[in-house]
Symmetry: C2
Subunit: 482 residues, 2 copies
């Protein structure tokens, strides 16, 4: 199979600047039935997706497939565009808030498609989804379209997801609030890829970047889990000079970095690289010399966003370079460790990060299954239960990452090792850590919060979950309403 080829268009020497978003949409030739894309680097601070769809709706364009790299609570206005027929199909990594409920309630005719970040890059490169027009908000660009993630008004750091769209979309429209002198270099998106540029007053609220998934925990239970996870990491043979790791979003996962740093200091061990959504603690590891390189597909906070432009060993990478399984080696393929969160994990180590225990979509696939499949050691960090709901349970509501990719589960009450990894079991058994079988953790959780109530679903499929290689790993059905 060959990579999908972007439509070849020849620059005519005219200015790429257009006076309004409406004009850009008209010039792009966007028509009903086409596919458009957005990126989610601004997370809850994204202003442009809603704005673009408002203009598209006003132009009477309908039946669009939208493939944002992800969606957040801020995208609630999509509900109206679905109702009015402007948007008829959605492919995304995640979905939250009222929009997620709306879709969980079966209000779209076509099921949405959930993809991992690596899976999205793969699908675009393979031409399984073809982007007619990409609408990409960029914190800075010049009049030819050389664009970067740090501007005078707004900042999002890495433009890793947008880079894939710029490379493969037939038409690329940039929106910026900082139109700077030519040439804006170094550039994440290059002038050769860009068709039109629109200057807007504001493209996003950088404060929204750090919202949601990337809080810094003081919760003792989360800290305990993080400490255990760091002890597991440092007990394994990959913990040596030149090792590599990624920590996902979520309180415990992020907190692992702190404990890991103490260990690295004590043992005088340095990491070759850290990968992923990059956060302030990782930037500190880089600046203090504990990690030699950061690979950044998405900056999870403003410290990380500023660091991409400032630190020469903080490297922006595209989602394809990050986690695409169908190339000659994404960066994730070299991971020694990945630390990931879970909404639910079952007795076969299958992980759900997509749906709540009430069956409603509330999360994102992200790089979860990509990095779990790639890393030598995949460690899931999760509390045994949350509120009155078990995290560790017999069956997960939906599967994002198959248990075969998971090596260790760390909870505050015990650590379960996948039976396939006897080597890890042996290493850990010498450390006095609370090792238990995963069935035991399921029992413990059930004893505390009681047995999980079965969720009742209708037949209607509201979401199809693609594994990173494009196979369907699960389906989410409409929740049955009282």
């Amino acid at each position: 199979m060959r990579k999908h080829g972007k439509l070849i268009k020849q620059y005519d020497g005219e200015s790429k600047l257009v006076s309004s978003l409406e004009e850009a949409i008209r010039k792009s030739g966007l028509k009903s039935g086409m596919t458009i894309s957005f990126h989610h680097h601004f997370r809850e601070g994204d202003y442009t997706t809603n704005l673009v769809l408002k203009h598209i709706a006003a132009l009477g364009i309908k039946e669009l497939t939208i493939i944002p790299s992800s969606l957040s609570k801020v995208h609630e206005p999509l509900i109206e565009h679905i109702k009015s027929g402007v948007v008829s199909e959605i492919h995304t990594s995640g979905l939250r808030g009222k929009l997620a409920e709306f879709i969980s309630d079966g209000n779209m005719e076509k099921p949405i498609v959930i993809r991992s970040h690596g899976g999205r890059a793969r699908a675009i490169e393979a031409g399984e989804v073809k982007i007619d027009v990409a609408f990409l908000a960029v914190p800075r660009c010049d009049e030819m379209g050389n664009a970067s993630g740090n501007g005078n008004q707004t900042t999002c750091g890495s433009l890793g997801y947008a880079m894939v769209d710029a490379e493969y979309a037939d038409t690329v429209i940039l929106m910026t609030d900082d139109l700077c002198e030519y040439p804006n270099m170094p550039a994440s998106i290059r002038q050769q890829q860009v068709n039109y540029i629109v200057k807007l007053d504001e493209i996003g609220d950088p404060a929204g970047i750090a919202s949601g998934a990337t809080r810094y925990t003081k919760n003792p239970k989360e800290l305990k889990i993080a400490e255990y996870a760091a002890r597991v990491m440092t007990a394994l043979p990959e913990y040596k000079d030149g090792f590599s790791f990624q920590t996902g979003s979520g309180g415990s996962s992020l907190a692992v970095t702190r404990y890991l740093k103490d260990a690295m200091k004590r043992d005088e061990i340095k990491a070759a690289f850290a990968l992923g959504g990059i956060t302030q603690p990782m930037v500190e590891l880089l600046e203090e010399g504990y990690v030699s390189h950061l690979f950044d597909v998405q900056s999870f906070d403003l410290v990380a966003a500023a660091s991409v432009a400032k630190n020469k060993n903080h490297h922006e990478i595209s989602a394809s370079e990050y986690a695409n399984p169908s190339n000659m080696g994404c960066v994730a393929s070299g991971l020694d460790y990945v630390i990931l969160s879970a909404l639910e994990i079952d007795k076969d180590f299958n992980v759900n990060v997509m749906t709540g225990s009430d069956g409603v979509i509330m999360g994102a696939s992200g790089g979860h299954c990509d990095t779990a499949a790639s890393a030598k050691n995949t460690i899931i960090v999760a509390p045994l239960y949350r509120g009155r709901l078990a995290t560790v349970k017999n069956t997960v509501t939906s599967v994002i990452t198959p248990g075969s990719s998971v090596d260790v589960l760390v909870t505050e009450r015990g650590i379960a090792v996948n039976p396939a990894r006897q080597d890890i079991m042996e290493r850990l058994s010498q450390l006095g850590l609370p090792l238990v079988g995963i069935e035991k953790l399921v029992e413990m959780a059930e004893q505390i919060v009681g047995p999980a109530e079965a969720i009742e679903f209708d037949e209607q499929v509201v979401a199809v979950i693609e594994y990173r290689d494009g196979t369907i790993i699960d389906k989410i059905r409409k929740r049955k309403q009282a």
Copy 2:
């Protein structure tokens, strides 16, 4: 039309390092009749093209099409590979020395194809030529294939031509003499693009980079031409803060930089960027603040090669970013000025940089027609005659750049402006420069060296010259031998 898509191959987690070039060739699946590519960043110092072909010949593979970005005198051993049927077709920008004579003498069945640097990138992207295996020498890379142009043993600076091959070739083999720790970042070629890596003792002689076209002149005639050219540049309206320029290789062309710098100092004018094959004088302009950015597709000397890695505003660009006419704006498309050499120029301003006045191939298309077509002002610098041969003449031996792309011809005896550029004529007429009609220059040259002897050619076409857009602009025929 869509871009050609590289074959999608999936990394299997095995080491990409192979023990020998022979093994790499075997693993690549190279077969008779296929197309392979090389880059010419080492110019006369290239060790690997000959080496690879020697191994291919030993394996009994035949009838290959080779598409190096260019060829030099050092590639004379190709003659034997042509004779023995290992190589049956050549696409290149240039050709020199005995190999060029061998081809001029009609010793290949199929005519070679001459392309400009932008035209080569265009043809590869459009799938007009499909590279089965790219053999790319890189001064440094890590075990996954992240490669760059500055290594411990050798240095070539920009890998701009190689970047195109790495992006589009179905199989990419890197050869390096500096295998470094992972990750080698920043990288010009990325691990996702690379299939196999071979460690060699030596990949090239950096001293060979500065040989040939990039000498620094002390010739008074060349300096006079350069001084005139700089006066022409500074007289035109584009000469203001934020302007851009490129100087080609060749004595006068390179010397323009010196006079331009004096003017910029005097007038307190700074350039936004300089482009091209980058030389030491341009690096000095960058470091001294006369130029804000350098875009470098090829480092013409070791100072430039070192600067790419050192100066943050010295940017490596691919040949597609440099001069491909079929994208949304190569960097050349933003040029205010380009200063180019000529072997011959005719009364219609058509330029030959390919064949000597004896009809023998001796030069390279390079970025000549690309930048001439792109720049607002194209200035050809050339002596009226060389030895006993006129440079300015009624008819050029072969056409690389059409006269419609040329605005001004500067010789030591007079400056001719293309009649289509009356605006330039008016500007220059106020300066006391020796303006003359180009026919007058043809006459003057003829008076000095006598009329050009007509070259006799046979019917056989030995080379087809493609213009940057893929149309055939000229053909070179076999010279008639006495």
